[in-house]
Amino acid sequence: MNLWLFLPEFLVAGLAFLILGTDLVLPPARKSLLAYGGALGLGGIMAATLTLQGEEARLYGGLFLVDGYALFFKEFFLLLGILILLASVEFVEKNLSHAGEYYGLILFSVLAMMLMTASGELLTAYISLELLSFCLYILASYGLHDPRSNEAGVKFILLGAFSSAILLYGLSLVYGLAGTTEFVAIAGVLGSGEDLGPGLLVGLVLVIAGFGFKVAAVPFHMWAPDVYEGAPLPITAYLSVASKAAAFALLLRLFAVAFMPAMDEWRGIMAGLAAVTMTVGNLVAIPQRNIKRLLAYSSIGQAGYLLVGLAALSPMASSGMVFHLAGFAVTNLAAFVAIIAYYNLSGKEDIPDYAGLAERSPLLATTLAVAFFSLAGLPFFAGFTTKFYLFAAAAREGLLWLVALAMVNSLISLYYYLLVIKQMYMVPPSEPGRLRVPGLLKGILVLLLFGIVIIGIYPAPLLEAIDGATRFLFP
């Protein structure tokens, strides 16, 4: 066996321990070096991971897969890790203690997400998912002296453990019926035409419910708004973007590879889940006053759109889903980094606090407006192009009704995004004075804005890469 194929995972784990170790000898004033070092390290790992391009292997009898799909997501998560580390620095300095463990845990969670996309078997997938969850439980409750953060942590752990139990039970039922935990082998049993009885449906429903918790699909979304609101801001950003993307990456491989032959059983459930998730998420977002809660519900709505791709699950639809996931990640991250920057400067996070932001900081207002337009699916920005592609793919699979509902939902979401934009552009500021965004965050914001526009108007290179990745799901 070729240990070289584990290179990215070894390197990330090593980097995480290195950060934890360095933390012991670093004076408190210089902890931000850990974030810069971590980001630099992840950048190096991104380059090193590229050496695995073209490699295809099934290690440990299919437990661990090395293929283009895993490679694409590994690069994606490494990039997200870099951005989150850099976006955290100022926030951590001002608001949190124990910076070393914070950065270390982020790196471990990146490792977990990389393992999730590479797992080709139920238990490996489950263990990676738990590694991610445990990192996130701790990170969500990192604001030691903030009661909201403590509440978020407790809620997150309790509901997370609950959902893990459900997921495990579902997986055990599938294992009991199929006699194997390996994705390809499960597909073989399901496709053999043998009648597996009602147990399969129960197992699938439990698996979907378990993952429903992880991606915050309605009706399993109850934890999300509270956790999003209570967790430290960069962790909220991380939750809404990275952990969601990892869960969807795993879901896509699981359903496309293992459960595809039983598609008739779960397709209706998935479509229904998508419909309910986006509708509830977007409707409940309307009355929110806290910008983090608003984005929490809007992310729930976005999860609904992604589930549309899962319900369609053709090669084009899965590309569309990953494409939308990438566009959503860039867009949502841009919105969150702007919110972090504003919080660092003002300590405020309610929507009325954003009054007159366009005059106080045009960059932050522009970023938020662009991100919101993109989330609402307006053109020139990533959201329009990715949604159009995803919905076209789903419509081709006969889900035009679901797509039409998703479009109506986009309209609803536009309404509450416009309410925030109205605060920023049309209401005069309550405090005078221009805000000065520090250079690092400014750089990240400009980069993300650039990304939103590039995906919106010149998506061909990204989509080609995604097509190359999802090709491995449909051999």
Binding site: M316, A358, A369, F373, L378, P379, F380, F384, F388, Y389, F391, A392, A393, A395, R396, L400, V403, A404, M407, V408, S410, L411, L414, Y415, L418, I421, K422, Y425, M426, P459, A460, L463, D467
Partner: protein, 495 residues
């Protein structure tokens, strides 16, 4: 030379350049906007003059790969219907930039959004791929919310209050709701045709079976119809137009509403001719209601700008009636009316803007005798009013006459109703002229003055276009007819 790409990029690059200019240098910003607008006008004139209407069909075609996997390509081209629309956009953005010359509040953002709006509008007229048509269609809606909400003006008459935020939100939600229908329609065509392409030329005129055409067509009719001011989905239009700042009202009523009408032609009738045929009687009814209802509403307004807003609803009704005839005369009249109304309503809004800027009210009952202080404005207003009434020698006459002839050939009763609408138009226009401009001068308006030289220049351009087209419509008609011919060729009952 890729002229159409240049037309698309010029206003966009103008917006980018303005972004780089520091916001304190207002004059530089305006000069860049003016250069971009003039260049756009120049290019659109070039396209209009060199379009070969004898050959007809799509010309200036450009195709670039974009997402071949999904069947999307960046495919541009113009035909006899889009050429006049491109010219219209060029003329109005040119006049609009000069009319907005005195914008003081955040001028930088204003001109960036204005030029972005023009990019979207141009894109719709020249796109031959459904994806990009929809892309630019939404792009044209996007800047409106900010343009109206930030730079607009509220309407307050004690019992009747419409804030600019209300107008902006209502307009945006209505238009995006319409575009949801269009989006569903586009995907329905994409899926039902089964060709895996969004290219309108490749989809052709019978990609869908007649039954499916009849099923999908209402999506486009209502979806685009919302933007065209189709009754009963028109209510955003007076509210939005009144709340918008002058230059934006000009562009919006002048050009954006034409996007809706254009969408009905290009996508609705173009891709689904048999569907169109089935639904046209309904459109005739709705279009006639537009004409009469819009005119009656205009009659009862106190806000000067609301009169113009409702007159737009009424005049767009002629466009819809012309479509509904599905015969060459009525259709060509409708397209000419799109052009003529675009120029006319832009002029109207510009003039109302002049008055409002100086008098700070738009209440008709408070005016009187303004002609004595604002002679040029009064003269131009009279020209616009006469065009609106369809007086011979002005562009509105040719357009409305053709629409009426076409309607009498197909639905005589509705032709009569349409003419009744024109009569009501005469009443509200004459009432407006009499109340606002003529009669004894109200002493409180002693201090009013005519518009500045730049503003006069910009509105004079519009006046000249109205007169020129009224006296010599032949070049426009030649282009329009070359576009209408192939459009109606696939419809059995047309002719």
């Amino acid at each position: 030379m890729p002229v159409l790409t240049a037309i698309l990029l010029l206003p966009f690059l103008g917006a980018l350049v303005i972004l780089l200019v520091p916001s304190a240098r207002v004059l530089a910003i305006k000069v860049v906007a003016a250069v971009a607008a003039s260049g756009t006008l120049g290019l659109s004139l070039y396209v209009f003059l060199s379009y070969d209407h004898v050959r007809g069909g799509y010309q200036f075609i450009e195709t670039y790969r974009w997402l071949p996997g999904a069947g999307i390509s960046f495919h541009l081209g113009v035909d006899g219907i889009s050429v006049p629309m491109v010219l219209l956009t060029g003329v109005i953005i040119f006049a609009g930039v000069f009319i907005a010359w005195n914008t003081a509040l955040r001028a930088k953002d204003f001109f960036v959004l204005l030029l972005l709006l023009v990019t979207g509008v141009m894109g719709v007229f020249i796109s031959l791929d459904l994806f990009f048509l929809f892309f630019f269609y939404e792009l044209a809606v996007l800047p409106m919310y900010l343009l109206i909400g930030v730079w607009g003006s509220s309407s307050d008459f004690g019992t009747f209050i419409r804030t600019k935020e209300y107008g902006a939100m209502k307009l945006t939600i209505y238009l995006v709701a319409g575009s949801v229908l269009v989006w569903v329609g586009i995907l329905a065509v994409y899926v039902a045709a089964g060709l895996g392409t969004f290219d309108m030329v490749a989809l052709g005129r019978d990609a869908l079976t007649p039954d499916l055409q009849r099923l999908v067509f209402p999506l486009f009719l209502v979806g685009f119809g919302v933007l065209a001011g189709l009754w009963p989905f028109h209510t955003w239009s007076p509210d939005g137009h009144v709340a918008a700042p002058t230059a934006v009202s000009m562009l919006h009523a002048g050009v954006l509403m034409k996007l809706g009408a254009f969408g009905i032609i290009r996508v609705g009738i173009g891709l689904l001719p048999q569907g169109a045929e089935a639904w046209m009687p309904l459109l005739m009814v709705l279009g006639t209601i537009n004409v009469v209802y819009g005119a009656i509403s205009a009659l009862s307004q106190r806000d000067l700008k609301y009169v113009v807003g409702y007159s737009s609803v009424s005049h767009m009704g002629y466009v819809l009636m012309g479509f509904a005839t599905l015969n060459p005369v009525g259709m060509s009249g409708a397209v000419l009316q799109m052009f003529s109304h675009g120029i006319m309503t832009a002029l109207f809004f510009a003039l109302v803007g002049f008055i409002y800027d100086r008098a700070h009210t738009r209440d008709i009952t408070m005016f009187g005798g303004l002609a004595k202080r604002m002679g040029t404005t009064a003269a131009f207003f009279t020209v616009a009013g006469l065009t609106s009434m369809g007086l011979p020698g002005l562009s509105g006459f040719v357009a409305e006459f053709l629409v009426f002839v076409g309607t009498f050939q197909t639905y005589p009763l509705f032709g009569a109703l349409g003419i009744a609408g024109a009569a009501i138009t005469a009443i509200y226009i004459l009432r407006l002229l009499a109340r606002v401009f003529f009669g004894p001068l109200d002493p409180r308006w002693e201090g009013l003055s005519d518009p500045t030289r730049i503003e006069t220049f910009a509105s004079a351009v519009l006046v000249l276009v109205l007169i020129f087209v009224g006296l010599y419509p032949a070049p426009l008609m030649a282009a329009i007819n070359s576009g209408i011919g192939p459009l109606l060729a696939g419809i059995p009952g047309a002719g």
